[in-house]
């Protein structure tokens, strides 16, 4: 009995300490400066933070690739969530309680508060008040995809659109868009020269 109590209190204590230390790290990342660790290693974390919110995955990911919130600034997500009744020509309205949870998640994890590499680069490519509705409209995205031909994407029946990230970026769902993971259907791996 006594031993059990000891184990439980140790567990509670260690969880609390873990919480405090991660809070200390996050305080910095929230300001977009990058935490102590990422600064130490000379940059930010690779890719973009993976999606962790189940409502977002269910409600948004059931129709299209669940774009990580770190791919657009908060001001873009605010616009997206305010216009769900005309979501790129579709009606994607949600009950208020779900919409609020998702909006909250998007705003808290948007590119402007992230120290992941792709988020930082997307933010750097935007002007102060730019609020693009599509990731594929950001200058960073356009630059990274400017060598692709219509045959590879738009007229490729297995891709069809630049909005279809995971058609070629095999690890996109994990927030990883590295070049060596690219596999364009009917074309194969991407070789940059």
């Amino acid at each position: 009995m006594k031993r059990k109590l000891l184990t439980v209190s140790l567990l509670v204590l260690s969880t609390a300490m873990l919480g405090m230390s991660s809070a200390a790290f996050c305080a910095e990342t929230d300001q977009g400066k990058g935490g102590f660790l990422s600064r130490w290693f000379g940059g930010s974390k690779p890719g973009v933070a993976p999606v962790e919110n189940p409502q977002y995955l269910e409600e948004c990911g059931s129709c299209h690739f669940p774009y990580q919130p770190g791919l657009l600034p908060a001001r873009s997500w605010t616009k997206v969530m305010a216009t769900l009744d005309n979501h790129f020509g579709e009606n994607a309205e949600l009950p208020a309680e779900d919409a609020n949870i998702i909006k909250d998640y998007l705003l808290k994890n948007s590119a402007d508060g992230s120290n992941y590499k792709r988020s930082v680069k997307i933010m750097k490519s935007l002007r102060a008040n730019d609020a693009p509705l599509r990731v594929s409209e950001t200058p960073y995205f356009l630059k990274k995809h400017d060598e692709l031909t219509p045959k590879m994407v738009l007229n490729n029946p297995k891709v069809g659109s630049f909005s279809n990230c995971s058609a070629c970026h095999t690890q996109a769902a994990k927030g990883s868009f590295s070049e060596k993971e690219i596999l364009i259907p009917n074309f194969g791996a991407w070789e940059d020269d």
Binding site: H64, E90, N91, P95
Partner: protein, 133 residues
């Protein structure tokens, strides 16, 4: 022992059907409380296949535009190409089991297809048509 096992297994298999019945009957009661009369599968089918002209694009739209004509088969979203699982509950037992999902898709798809929300009567008719598939 064996009989009990069979009973439990049969019950487990029946769960989706109970869920469908309860979600649909809950909504039917709600629609009737909103003024709808009795529901007709034939009226539901007629609405399902009716074509509406989109005011903005001038394109014709109907439910089969995305769900295709055969509801026991997969559909395909007209714009995104997303695969839509079969609507027929006999093929896809998950269909019509969640009130929240039914409500959500009635809002979205009535507005997209008809250009307005469906009435309580229309929604009940559509459910009557779909639940029997």
């Amino acid at each position: 022992m064996n009989i009990r096992l069979i009973g439990v297994t049969a019950l487990l298999f029946a769960v989706p059907f109970f869920a469908q019945a309860s979600a649909v009957s809950e909504l039917e009661a709600k629609y009737q409380s909103q003024g709808a009369g009795s529901f007709s599968a034939a009226a539901g089918e007629a609405l399902w296949t009716k074509e509406f002209v989109d005011a903005k694009s001038g394109n014709k739209r109907s439910c089969p535009t995305c769900h295709t004509a055969d509801l026991t088969k997969e559909g395909k979203h007209a714009r995104t190409g997303k695969v839509i699982k079969p609507m027929a509950p006999s093929i896809n037992p998950q269909r019509l089991t969640e009130v929240k999902k039914i409500k959500k898709w009635f809002v979205r798809n009535c507005k997209w297809t008809l250009g307005r929300e469906c009435t309580a009567q229309e929604k009940g008719d559509l459910l009557a048509f779909l639940k029997a598939l």
